[in-house]
């Protein structure tokens, strides 16, 4: 239960950190589409 709550309270993290974590996602999609 505690582990579940820990992952739950992460939900409200700053929007900027969410987008920042996706930087690689963009690079990866770009890399695949350029092939």
């Amino acid at each position: 239960m505690n582990n579940e709550k820990l992952l739950d309270i992460l939900s409200d993290i700053d929007d900027s950190l969410i987008s920042d974590a996706l930087q690689n996602e963009k690079a990866e999609i770009k890399r695949i589409s350029e092939k």
Partner: protein, 185 residues
């Protein structure tokens, strides 16, 4: 399409808002929902509900960051659906992530549930913000987006064992940080 334009479409209640948001973020949201639910059908329902929520709410409360806004709705809806589902989803990346978090909170040893205060949340966010860039991104990709270890390794061009080690070290650091800050975990 630029996020600002998509938000404007939602504000004007233009039907193409849904199409454009789905076109731009549908795959990302699907990956996030599948990581939790392990079911394409259920994930599709969550994406539809996410876009409906955006349709109903953005006109009065437009977000600053559309990508994060949609991801947060999808994550919360998928977690709610996961809990209400009776089916066991042992292979869900969310379930695997929960197991890994056992490093921090040992369920077997805990006699009482930790009080999850706003203070703990602030310390947790402070810890994550202070992590080196790559470590922070990998941590969030695993425990916020529930990406598989395989996907993380591929995205960063590292081996799966290196990705696991990085995550293990971050969890260890988090446990030590919370203990040092006086959280009895």
């Amino acid at each position: 399409m630029d996020d600002g334009l998509i938000i404007e479409l939602f504000r004007k209640q233009d039907n193409s808002a849904i199409t454009e948001a789905d076109k731009k973020y549908g795959k990302l949201l699907m990956k996030l929902a599948i990581g939790i639910l392990c079911s394409k059908e259920e994930a599709e329902e969550v994406i539809n509900d996410t876009l409906l929520a955006a349709w109903n709410n953005i006109r009065n409360n437009p977000p600053d960051n559309l990508q994060a806004y949609l991801c947060k709705i999808t994550r919360n809806l998928a977690l709610n659906k996961f809990r209400s589902s009776k089916a066991k989803k042992r292979n869900s990346e969310y379930v695997l992530s929960l197991d890994e978090m056992g490093d921090i909170f040992s369920e077997a040893d805990s006699t009482e549930e930790i009080f999850f205060s706003k203070e703990l949340q602030n310390f947790l966010f402070g810890f994550i913000k202070a992590l080196p860039d790559e470590q922070r991104r990998i941590f969030l990709r695993r425990y916020w987006f529930f990406d598989s270890i395989k996907d993380i390794a591929a995205s960063w061009g590292i081996s799966e064992s290196k990705a696991k080690t990085l995550l293990f070290r971050t969890r260890k650091k988090l446990k030590e940080y919370l203990e040092k800050e006086g959280f009895n975990i």
